[in-house]
């Protein structure tokens, strides 16, 4: 198989890489670009651990070919914090202990970021439906939902 040259934008950086035609974006991120934040849980789009944002939509990077990243704008967990300053979602996940083992966390954070960009004031039901494609076997989800609600409130400027 011959390699494909791909030019894309990842976390505001212009990135060029070579990949195989059947290589997923997840494998490109992890194995070629050293961006290990996105995790492979199921590899079939069920668990959301590999969630990244592509052209503003949250996607499972295991269900995107590396070649499909050509000309796209991709956001991964590595670009969420602003330098040493954590994103409000990251801070609130820590404050609410919304993680235990942490495997699902990058995916939850990226999915939640996309949610709050689309809907800055989601109801609990809207949060739970939006995040239904992210599986967590540790927390029981409640703490994650609280963290997202709290981060949303802070981002709307409503925090006490």
């Amino acid at each position: 198989m011959s390699s494909i040259a791909v030019s894309t934008t990842i976390n505001d950086d212009d990135v060029e890489f070579l990949c195989q035609p059947d290589e997923t974006l997840l494998d490109v991120l992890r194995n070629r670009l050293g961006l290990m934040g996105a995790k492979e849980g199921c590899g079939t789009g069920d668990c959301g651990a590999c969630s990244t944002i592509m052209d503003g939509r949250v996607v499972c990077s295991c269900l995107v070919l590396g070649a499909e990243a050509q000309g796209k704008t991709i956001e991964t967990i590595e670009g969420l914090a602003n330098g040493a300053e954590l994103h409000p979602l990251q801070r609130k996940f820590i404050e609410h202990a919304a993680l235990q083992c942490g495997i699902c966390t990058p995916g939850f954070l990226m999915a939640a970021k996309a949610l709050l960009e689309a809907n800055p004031d989601p109801t609990e039901t809207e949060i739970r439906f939006w995040l239904a494609g992210n599986l967590c076997r540790c927390t029981g989800y409640d703490k994650i939902v609280r963290a997202v609600q709290d981060a949303a409130a802070e981002m709307r400027g409503e925090t006490a």
């Binding site: 035609p21 590899g43 789009g45 499972c60 070919l65």
Partner: protein, 286 residues
């Protein structure tokens, strides 16, 4: 394996027409990439159609809506005119998968994978949607109903690509709805799905109707008898009973881990009743 990203539909059809049997079309990829994970999956060619002009667009024309084959299902509900005209089609497409899947999956993919349980297909058939097919010998238009021929099989010929779904223009008091049954509240495959599309006359009587049943046969079923049961009525209780009975009788499902024959037949009737009521209410509000 080769990955190709043609810029025109002519190039795409030529690639597929000249390829051997192990070639696949890539739109959203939410089914294809899962299949690619299987050890026994083999492909010589993957043709990504998303760079072809118009594939990602929803266009409102004099005749209705043209929805490109690359439009992700999430984009359907973001189009207010489409959502107002065809809420049943949009709600059906939006039931497929998670937020992550919605951002990639397409109605044309749902149709061409030809699962009997495809959620968007009964709603599209009820809506009398058609598809524009491009092929080596030019374009043709066929009804969505005529695309799937059985589980995993379509009537498309070698080299043919569905470019777009065509939804008719919506006038007057008309509404559609889709209901499905799954064992949980999110992210599952339909055990039964029912799409109903109807229009009302000035007196509030059902003037025309189409009722389509999914996951209760090898392909989607369009039931003329079910439509006849509700035309000329105001969906009185006895009419809904008759509709449910017809839909249960028309269903010819299989027994599997998702549901028994008897259960699926009964649920087809229950969902037809509910979908008809929702479509009727929506039509009445216009």
């Amino acid at each position: 394996m080769r990955y190709e990203r043609p810029q025109t539909i002519e190039d795409a059809t030529a690639l597929l027409a000249n390829a051997d049997a192990k070639s696949f079309l890539l739109a959203g990829g939410t089914d294809l990439l899962v299949r690619m994970q299987n050890d026994d999956f083999e492909a010589d060619l993957i043709v990504d159609i998303k760079s072809i002009a118009g594939m990602g667009n929803i266009t409102e024309t004099g005749g209705g809506f043209v929805i490109g084959a690359g439009v992700p299902c999430a984009a359907l509900s973001e189009n207010p005119a489409l959502f107002v005209a065809w809420p049943g089609v949009v709600e059906a497409a939006n039931l497929i998968g998670s937020t992550q899947i919605q951002g990639r999956c397409t109605m044309v993919g749902n149709l061409c994978n030809a699962s009997p349980a495809a959620d968007s297909v009964p709603a599209l058939v009820a809506a009398n949607a058609r598809v524009r097919v491009a092929g080596p010998s030019g374009q043709r238009e066929i009804a969505v109903l005529d695309v799937p021929t059985g589980p995993g099989k379509t009537s498309l010929k070698k080299g043919e690509i569905i470019e777009a779904i065509l939804l008719p223009k919506r006038d007057g008091r008309a509404g559609d709805a889709y209901q499905r049954f799954i064992p949980r509240t999110e992210m599952d495959i339909a055990v039964v799905g029912v799409g109903v599309n109807l229009s009302l006359d000035d007196a509030g009587m059902v003037q025309s109707a189409r009722v389509a049943l999914g996951a209760v046969g090898p392909k989607v079923i369009l039931s003329d008898k079910a439509a006849e049961a509700i035309i000329g009525t105001k969906l009185e209780e006895s009419v809904l009973d008759a509709l449910a009975a017809v839909c249960s009788d028309t269903s010819s499902p299989i027994d599997d881990k998702r549901g028994t024959v008897a259960f699926r037949k009964q649920v087809a009737g229950v969902l037809a009743r509910r979908a008809a009521q929702t479509a009727y209410t929506r039509a009445g509000e216009k």
